[in-house]
């Protein structure tokens, strides 16, 4: 039986009904039209479905939709302010840190969480911080450089 859930997504109050065993990822994509988070593995290994819940980055495939009740959720759709891209998004474009783009929303959300905790990470810290995100075409060097550059912009 479907459960009614009230939550906040990217600052907006959202209500949805979902099955008790339905992953948050499926709720976001199939019920709320937020298709930024991607399903790569569905088992928490690839990070393509990364979102923030109450300020912490999680794999939305490993969260139940019903767990979102009363929580604050941020998805990649909330990164840009209107037409202005988030520095991470700009730098990913500038450094060509993506090819097919399936992993990109997850990398952006994981990188955002990393920089919120550590505004000036070393390369090693970035690589560890993003170890839960897999990219199968760009390779990681460009992504790391994009995050370093974005961090610089964000530090002002």
């Amino acid at each position: 039986m479907a459960v009614l859930v009230t939550t906040t997504i990217n600052g907006d109050r959202v209500e949805f009904a979902c099955e008790p065993n339905e992953p948050l990822l499926d709720v976001l994509r199939n019920r709320l039209g937020l298709s930024g988070a991607k399903e790569g593995c569905g088992t928490g290994d690839c990070g393509a479905c990364s979102v923030q819940v109450d300020g912490r980055v999680v794999c939305s495939c490993l969260v139940l939709g019903v767990e979102a009740e009363g929580r604050e959720i941020e998805t990649v759709e909330g990164l840009a302010q209107g037409t202005e891209l988030h520095p991470l998004q700009s730098k990913f474009l500038e450094h060509a840190a993506l090819q097919c783009g399936v992993c990109t929303p997850g990398f952006l959300m994981a990188a955002k969480a990393l920089l919120e905790k550590n505004p000036n990470p070393t390369e090693e810290e970035i690589r560890f911080g993003l170890a839960g995100n897999l990219c199968r075409c760009t390779g990681y060097d460009k992504i790391v450089r994009a995050v370093q550059d974005a961090a610089k912009v964000m530090r002002g």
Binding site: E19, V57, E69
Partner: protein
């Protein structure tokens, strides 16, 4: 599937105790939801414990620390007092999975999942941690090493759940450490692991120690012989040699794609020695 998120431990125990079909506790979900996805389990009832306030807290008490069952490993790694008292336990908890998994996973979940390779468990065993179990018949406390009984199996009875882990208070010069071997640098499962906790007496002589090994037996193993090998010593070469021999002797591992019996048995000695050296240094020994 029925999903419940009770606000008290009593309500959670009640739900689990009267469940007709298969019932599971949900904390971080990094094991349970993967198993559900794979079709390995089909719960009739899932009890989410994250709305139970005391289970979300780390409390510093006169007798040590109480870590609520729903506290994530990321939260443990932000708790300065806990890091200071039990750096090995916190490091071990911090090695589980990715940042995404860290945001959700818990040491109690790691313990109940009962993998012989669970990272936080050898550190907890070495620390002499206790699991506080609540059930239909009330509360009981057991040593963490008595929770797993085999790969994927634990000693909890129907209706029971672990509400917290208790770590003893640190007295005098004490230190702990956890090391694991993995073929890459992160996001992997221990091939072999070792946790050591020790306390120094006069002049840097070890007066108390506990040594635990992971991934070398069906469950994480407390190795008393290994502790005996270093108690009464200043962790000199001879003591380390004896410690390594005792660690290897305690191994009964399997051969699998991640490591052979021979490799695991040898590396258990290496890691036990290195972890003991780190713990000794942390305790203020030279």
């Amino acid at each position: 599937m029925q999903y419940e998120a009770p606000e008290t431990t009593k309500a959670a125990v009640g739900l689990l105790a009267k469940a007709k079909g298969s019932a599971y506790v949900l904390a971080g979900g990094s094991d349970l939801l993967v198993r559900m996805k794979g079709g390995f389990v089909e719960p009739d009832l899932v009890v989410d414990i994250k709305r139970i306030k005391p289970m979300r807290e780390v409390k510093k008490t006169a007798s040590g620390f109480t870590i609520g069952a729903a506290v994530s490993c990321a939260e443990l790694n932000e708790n300065k007092a806990l890091i200071k008292a039990w750096p090995g336990v916190v490091e071990a908890a911090g090695l589980i999975g990715s940042k995404q998994v860290q945001s959700r996973c818990t040491v109690v979940g790691n313990l109940c999942n009962a993998s012989p390779a669970a990272d936080s468990v050898p550190a907890l065993v070495a620390a002499g941690a206790k699991a506080v179990i609540q059930g239909p018949k009330g509360k009981r406390k057991v040593a963490v090493e008595d929770v797993p009984v085999g790969p994927g199996r634990n000693s909890l009875k129907k209706g029971e759940l672990i509400e917290a882990i208790e770590l003893p208070a640190r007295k005098g010069k004490s230190g702990d450490a956890y090391l694991r071997f993995i073929p890459r640098t992160e996001m992997d499962i221990a091939v072999v692991s070792a946790g050591v906790s020790l306390t120094l007496g006069e002049k840097g002589v070890i007066k108390d120690a506990r040594v635990a090994l992971g991934a070398v037996a069906p469950t994480v193993r407390l190795v008393k012989e290994a502790a005996k090998a270093i108690i009464g010593t200043k962790l000199d070469e001879a003591a380390l040699e004896k410690l390594g021999k005792a660690a290897s002797a305690a191994c009964s591992p399997i051969d699998d794609k991640r490591g052979t019996i021979e490799f695991r048995t040898k590396v258990a000695a290496v890691l036990a020695k290195r972890a003991a050296q780190i713990a000794y240094k942390r305790a203020g020994g030279k």
